[in-house]
């Protein structure tokens, strides 16, 4: 095997791994869209907010410290304790469930029956609101997530494969964090599928996704299901926030990871959980291979461009995406 081929394989593997990271973000979009038909523009900000909350709780930060200090004339910023990771994650989940309840109670309950574009615009407002609240609660400084997640390439794999294609092959590089993200994504998808297939609330969620009115007529509480769905999306956002935040620190640019999820959704379909995974893998692999083979010829930085062009092609030839439900409206 030539060195060039081995490096191509390395790029391909890393592309797949990057795709998993994109899928983690895309999953949250799918959950909400499938259950309620809402394209949740705030999903990226939810990932940011969840990660900020986790980091803030772990560090023992006082939420809204600036406001408290300004009103009371105090100078407190930290409680002086550090919360263990597992407990902090549980507390963050509680916060995200509370957020889901608030969204349902104060926003979408008042918008029942509105056009999809109205609901979409409501999520834009929600995104700005949540970003502002996140800033007020936890501040805008970059936070480090001390969860003990592994960083760096797998030295074992490098040592095992070094020199395969000749002296100028330095072994396969695979990021350990990406490996963890892959395992987490597999567990997450398996859990979501098991939940929707084998639990009462999961089946109710699917029923609501299929037909709201029919679900309502058999006694399913739409209110509860939508809170459940937003809570699940909040949990998925937390997982995505942890994985992306481990790379760069938790900072406000995390909200922009949603931009990486959009082509994944267009390709995989907005209503399919497996579609989010497969779409992510295709986008990740495709953009990395394109950058490797063509990028240097056109000045580089082709990844975002490629992802959106590929998504555009799918929109033209298969608008529902690979796994999305075909929408047929009879007149």
């Amino acid at each position: 095997m030539s060195t060039d081929f081995l490096y191509l394989v390395e790029v391909l593997i890393n592309g797949l791994m990057a795709g998993v990271m994109y899928s983690l973000v895309a999953l949250g979009f799918v959950l909400i869209f499938k259950a309620s038909g809402i394209f949740n523009y705030a999903q990226g900000v939810m990932a940011l907010f969840a990660a900020l909350t986790l980091a803030g709780i772990m560090e023992g930060q006082v939420p809204f410290a600036h406001i408290i200090n300004a009103i009371l004339g105090t100078n407190i910023h930290h409680f002086g304790w550090h919360v263990p990771a597992v407990l902090a994650i549980l507390m963050t989940i509680v916060v995200m469930v509370g957020f889901a309840w608030g969204v349902q109670r104060f926003v979408f309950r008042h918008l029942v029956g509105q056009e999809p574009i109205i609901l979409f615009m409501a999520t834009i407002g929600l995104a700005y609101f949540l970003e502002g609240v996140g800033d007020l609660m936890w501040g805008s400084d970059i936070k480090t997530l001390a969860l003990g997640l592994p960083q760096g390439g797998s030295r074992w794999l490098e040592d095992m494969t070094v020199g395969w294609g000749g002296d100028d092959f330095y072994g396969f590089y695979i990021d350990k964090l990406d490996m963890v993200a892959t395992i987490v994504a597999i567990l997450l998808v398996a859990s979501l599928i098991a939940f929707s297939q084998y639990t009462k609330h999961g089946r109710a969620m699917r029923a609501v996704a299929d037909d709201h009115q029919a679900a309502l007529s058999v006694g399913i509480s739409l209110n509860f299901i939508w809170i459940l769905v937003w809570s699940l999306a909040g949990f998925v956002a937390l997982v995505a926030g942890i994985m992306w935040g481990a790379k760069s620190g938790v900072q406000f640019s995390l909200s922009m990871i949603a931009l990486k999820a959009l082509p994944v959704l267009m390709l995989g379909g907005f209503t399919s959980i497996p579609g989010a995974i497969v779409g992510g893998l295709i986008i990740g692999m495709g953009e990395k291979l394109f950058e490797y083979t063509v990028g240097s010829l056109v000045g580089g930085a082709t990844e975002n461009w490629f992802a959106y062009v590929l998504a555009l092609l799918f929109l033209v030839f298969r608008p529902q995406g690979l796994f999305g439900e075909r929408i047929i409206e009879r007149v």
């Binding site: 200090n69 970003e131 400084d141 970059i142 960083q151 590089y173 620190g249 490797y292 930085a301």
Partner: protein
């Protein structure tokens, strides 16, 4: 009816009779929110705290109090222009937007409105040519100086030769990130090194392709032109692939504490340029006691002494000195923007003056002239010590190669003048 008239007259009299409160208006186009807040907040804190110190200690500048007008841009060019438009009517004396995108938009506006624009170490590099850019200043250094200082440092590290070496430039794929390319290309021809260019898409959260390429091609050095999340991710990715940190040098917008702390111990040894020295300056004690303890801190007071806080304070000091110079030239305390421009053009920052201000050697000594709005272009190289969480200066101020940057500035400024029908000359 009579009573109403009397009341109206009383109000009008009270308004017209009120003494006009003279003040020096300094807008602060800050960004404390959004993806770039981690960099914008400490800079703005330092900028405002210094003016607050002058108000508390000296009653302002030349006896005139300073009024700061803060306007949040979120690092958005559109909002930056809106901030400019909404504050210029207040009598704004000088703008320092801390954004190359906003700076580019403000160059024609400030020129038309005759308000000086100071882009310290950012913005349009050829603004150093004061005969073309009468109202724009970028002292003490610009991007092309930075590229040249980096190469001069590496020349020094390699016994005066970079022949056959490979330098990779990892840059933000924007006007800002592309600024050093031309200078580095010229320098690569001059010194015989190979230059690999690696563009990173905005915002820079995903850089796997670029760092896999670096791992494959093993350049001798990596130079970085980044801002925001791009810096943190790049440093983490460099650590991940095992690239030697001592061979990784960022520019002065990629060398703050928050750029390195997310990578933890793995960032140890990372280097960056700085246009101002990081030190425990006596002025910090004054700011703490007269501004922070008095409850007038611009932020929560936690950023004092940090890289970007110090740079913001340095920027404010340069503005204050220019205003003082303008007052001296024109013999009035209440100066106009045009007078401040005169002060900037006659500015002379000496070692003795910096020491007097409690910030000895914060920057190089330099003077500005009608022809030269760019200063000396000096920069230091600093290294991050992860264990102590501090930057250490590895070098004294390094001079750029003016024989390379000078002609590039002249050429680019001449092109700008031709495009905009400007006849170069002094005001």
């Amino acid at each position: 009816m009579k009573m109403k008239k009397l009341a109206a007259l009383a109000i009008a009299a009270s308004v017209t009779a009120a003494p006009v409160m003279a003040e020096l208006v300094i807008p602060d186009l800050s960004y404390r929110t959004g993806p770039y807040a981690a960099g914008g907040t400490p800079f703005s804190d330092g900028y405002q705290d210094y003016f607050n110190l002058l108000n508390a200690r000296d009653g302002g500048i030349g006896g005139e109090p300073v009024r700061i007008l803060e306007c949040e841009t979120g690092y958005s060019t559109e909002r930056g222009v809106e901030c400019y438009e909404s504050t210029k009517g207040e009598g704004a004396l000088i703008y320092q937007p801390l954004s190359t995108g906003i700076a580019y938009q403000l160059i024609p506006k400030t020129t038309a409105d005759q308000i000086p624009l100071h882009t310290m170490g950012y913005g349009r590099t050829s603004a150093a040519d004061g005969e073309v850019f009468n109202w724009v200043f970028n002292y003490p250094a610009n991007y092309w100086d930075a590229a040249s200082v980096m190469v001069n440092y590496l020349l020094d590290e390699n016994g005066g030769s970079l022949d056959g070496k490979t330098l990779a430039l990892v840059y933000h794929n924007s006007a800002y990130g592309k600024e050093p390319i031309r200078t580095l290309e010229t320098l690569s021809e001059m010194h015989g090194f190979n230059l690999t260019q690696l563009a990173v898409d905005h915002p820079g959260q995903e850089q796997k392709s670029q760092w896999l390429q670096i791992r494959r091609e093993r350049p001798d050095y990596v130079l970085m032109w980044g801002w925001g999340v791009m810096n943190q991710v790049a440093i983490q990715e460099a650590a991940n692939i095992g690239f030697p940190m001592e061979n990784f040098i960022g520019n002065w917008w990629a060398g703050a504490e928050h750029d390195v702390t997310p990578a933890g111990a793995a960032a140890n040894g990372y280097k960056s340029l700085n246009m101002n020295r990081i030190d425990d300056l006596p002025v910090f004690a004054e700011i703490s006691s007269l501004v922070h303890d008095a409850g007038n801190a611009a932020g929560d007071g936690s950023n004092i002494g940090k890289v970007l806080y110090t740079r913001g304070m340095y920027a404010a000091m340069l503005a204050a000195e220019a205003i003082a110079k303008a007052q001296e030239i024109h013999g009035v305390a209440q100066v106009t923007p045009a007078m401040v421009r005169d002060g900037m053009e006659a500015l002379e920052i000496t070692d003795a003056r910096m020491e007097e201000l409690g910030m000895a050697q914060i920057g190089p000594a330099f003077s500005v002239s009608c022809q030269d709005h760019g200063g000396t272009g000096f920069g230091i190289v600093q290294e991050w010590d992860a264990a102590s969480g501090t930057w250490t200066a590895l070098t004294d101020y390094i001079a750029p190669d003016d024989s390379v940057t000078g002609p590039l500035v002249t050429e680019d400024a001449a092109a700008f003048a031709a495009e905009n029908n400007i006849t170069p000359g002094c005001l």
